[in-house]
């Protein structure tokens, strides 16, 4: 089991960019129902920008923390919107969580995921059950941590994270939005999956693919 270096992180971001690009239309459609129909565009712009910036980096010259901070900055500047600060904060917190490491061991990856989820919560001030991406990210990070603590491999831990994210996203259908653009809909938000939770599943799935 080799540790993940900056090249590995770049692979992860490339996987995310591909997966989100393929998922763009569905995410816009989900956002069209309870929001402003642009979530797929925002995510694709953001991860496309990250991919382009990382492609131009000398990966051997930087550490994971710098790479993650660079990703955060370029995502934010390409996107704005809600997803911009949320994912930028996620990656900056992830960066802080692995500060000083040249490569990430399994525990570091799990710590990074937890920091990301916490960053999203802090930035959005959203709790579980408010029908946001937190409802996918938080259970995913917890599931990864639990699996890792139980001695599972990184691949298994990320599988658990992905499954938890899927369940979390699915569960948003039964929630009334309390944060974000759809929070003004009241009951009318019921029955529809939150687009940010849906894209979180895609992101976490691509991370799994890229990392393990």
């Amino acid at each position: 089991m080799t540790a993940i270096d900056t090249a590995g992180l770049k692979t992860m971001f490339d996987e995310i960019a591909v997966a989100i690009e393929a998922d763009k239309d569905r995410l816009c459609q989900l956002d069209g129902v309870i929001g402003d129909a642009d979530h797929g565009i925002a995510m694709a712009l953001g991860f496309g920008a990250v991919r382009d910036v990382l492609a131009a980096l000398d990966l051997s010259a930087i550490e994971p923390t710098a790479l993650l901070n660079t990703a955060a900055k370029s995502f934010l500047n390409a996107v704005g919107a809600s997803s911009g600060p949320l994912y930028a904060t996620a990656f900056m917190r992830g960066a802080a969580a692995v500060k000083g490491k040249a490569a990430l061991a399994d525990a570091d990856v799990v710590a990074m995921l937890q920091a990301m989820a916490q960053g999203i919560r802090d930035r959005g001030k959203a709790e579980l059950g408010e029908k946001t991406m937190v409802d996918a990210w938080q259970p995913a990070a917890e599931a990864a941590a639990t699996a890792h603590a139980a001695g599972r491999t990184l691949a298994e831990s990320l599988d658990a994270a992905f499954a938890a994210a899927e369940r979390g996203a699915e569960a948003t259908k039964d929630m009334i939005a309390a944060k974000g653009r759809s929070s003004r809909l009241g009951e009318r938000s019921l029955g529809h999956m939150d687009p940010g939770a849906a894209s979180a599943v895609t992101v976490i799935g691509a991370m799994r693919k890229g990392l393990a």
């Binding site: 239309d25 069209g32 129909a37 797929g40 925002a42 704005g80 997803s83 911009g84 003004r184």
Partner: protein, 337 residues
């Protein structure tokens, strides 16, 4: 493959930047961008030492909101986001730097989660540059939350009145406290209701952002196509106007002799003819209850690309707000006062 909305664009991902290039080309005497930050649009004549700076901003697609409101007497700068997406912190920060005259900078924008996060990040960054920032959110959309949760409401077309009042306070060199107070009061006194008849499409997808039946309208729809409070059969102009005005008056609770300013705004493709037909009804209703109209604005002030529909905004005036609204402003896209 569903039919795509026709648009006169090039690459949809480049539309905002191409628009801004066209804006600066059209209005060189009024507008410039901050050095190195093309999404930060600055009034050439406006920012000055000792004046509170006013930075507004938000997603594109609502033109002339926000960039059309940049000019002397109104906003000093606007930070421009992608279509229906808050700008990121960097261009907001560049706006703050460009307009800071040492007396503080007001951030004003519509109350949306994305905007709040980005502007707050920019405010933190500005603080590190020793620029004091205060924020006043606009929450004029009556349809978007119950009365007791006013602070949760969206900011929509009322932005125009709210920004204009605040911009006047800044232009008159009032103190930071006063500018902030007037900005908050302007928001508290401003009420908007909208109705949507047909959707718009983002440049990248060119697909309608919501579905609505061929004989339906939606009262309270947001300016990004967010669902409103009620969907029903399309009614007559008088009925629609009454429905919107009733909601506004119930909140504003004016008494005989009170004064208001009126904005009848197109969401995009609803033509002036229909707006003025609505204004006719508004005026008759207001006359009936003895509320006098100090000034009326009719046209495209806060749009959702090519959405069909309209909104009605009333600002409940007192002497101070009236003075602020009458204060001259000189923007590239219009002039007043």
């Amino acid at each position: 493959m569903p039919v795509q909305t026709k648009k006169i664009i090039n690459d949809g991902n480049r539309s905002v930047d191409e628009m801004l290039e066209g804006v600066l080309a059209a209005h060189p005497r009024h507008l410039k961008s901050a050095a190195g930050s093309p999404r930060s649009i600055i009034a050439r004549d406006g920012p000055r030492a000792g004046k509170v700076g006013l930075v507004i901003g938000g997603g594109s697609g609502h033109e002339p909101t926000f960039l059309g409101f940049v000019g002397k007497g109104l906003a000093d700068a606007a930070a421009i986001g992608n279509v229906f997406a808050s700008p990121p912190p960097d261009p907001i920060l560049e706006c703050a730097k460009a307009v800071s005259g040492g007396a503080g900078v007001l951030f004003m924008y519509g109350n949306y989660a994305g905007d709040v996060m980005n502007f707050d990040m920019a405010a933190e960054m500005a603080a590190m540059d020793d620029i004091e920032v205060r924020t006043v959110l606009s929450t004029d959309d009556v349809a978007s939350a119950p009365r007791d949760q006013r602070q949760k409401r969206r900011g929509v077309a009322g932005n125009f009145f709210i920004f204009k009042a605040a911009g006047a306070a800044c232009d008159r060199m009032l103190s930071f406290d006063e500018c902030e107070r007037i900005a908050r009061k302007a928001n508290d006194h401003t009420f908007t209701m909208g109705v949507a008849l047909s959707p718009c499409s983002l440049p990248q997808t060119r697909r309608p952002n919501f579905e609505i039946g061929p004989d339906e309208m939606e009262i309270g729809m947001g300016i990004h196509g967010e669902p409103g409070i009620a969907r029903g059969k399309l009614k007559t102009a008088d009925e629609i106007t009454d429905e919107m005005l009733d909601k506004i008056l119930a909140e504003m609770a004016p008494v005989r002799g009170d004064k208001v300013a009126v904005l009848v705004n197109s969401l995009g493709s609803t033509p002036l003819m229909e707006l003025y037909i609505m204004n006719r009804r508004l005026r008759r209703r207001l006359d009936d209850i003895g509320v006098s109209v100090h000034a009326t604005w009719v046209g495209n002030y806060c749009t959702s690309l090519e959405m069909a529909g309209a909104s009605v905004t009333l600002m409940h005036l007192d002497g101070e707000l009236q003075t602020m609204l009458d204060h001259p402003c000189d923007c590239a896209m219009f002039r007043a006062g």
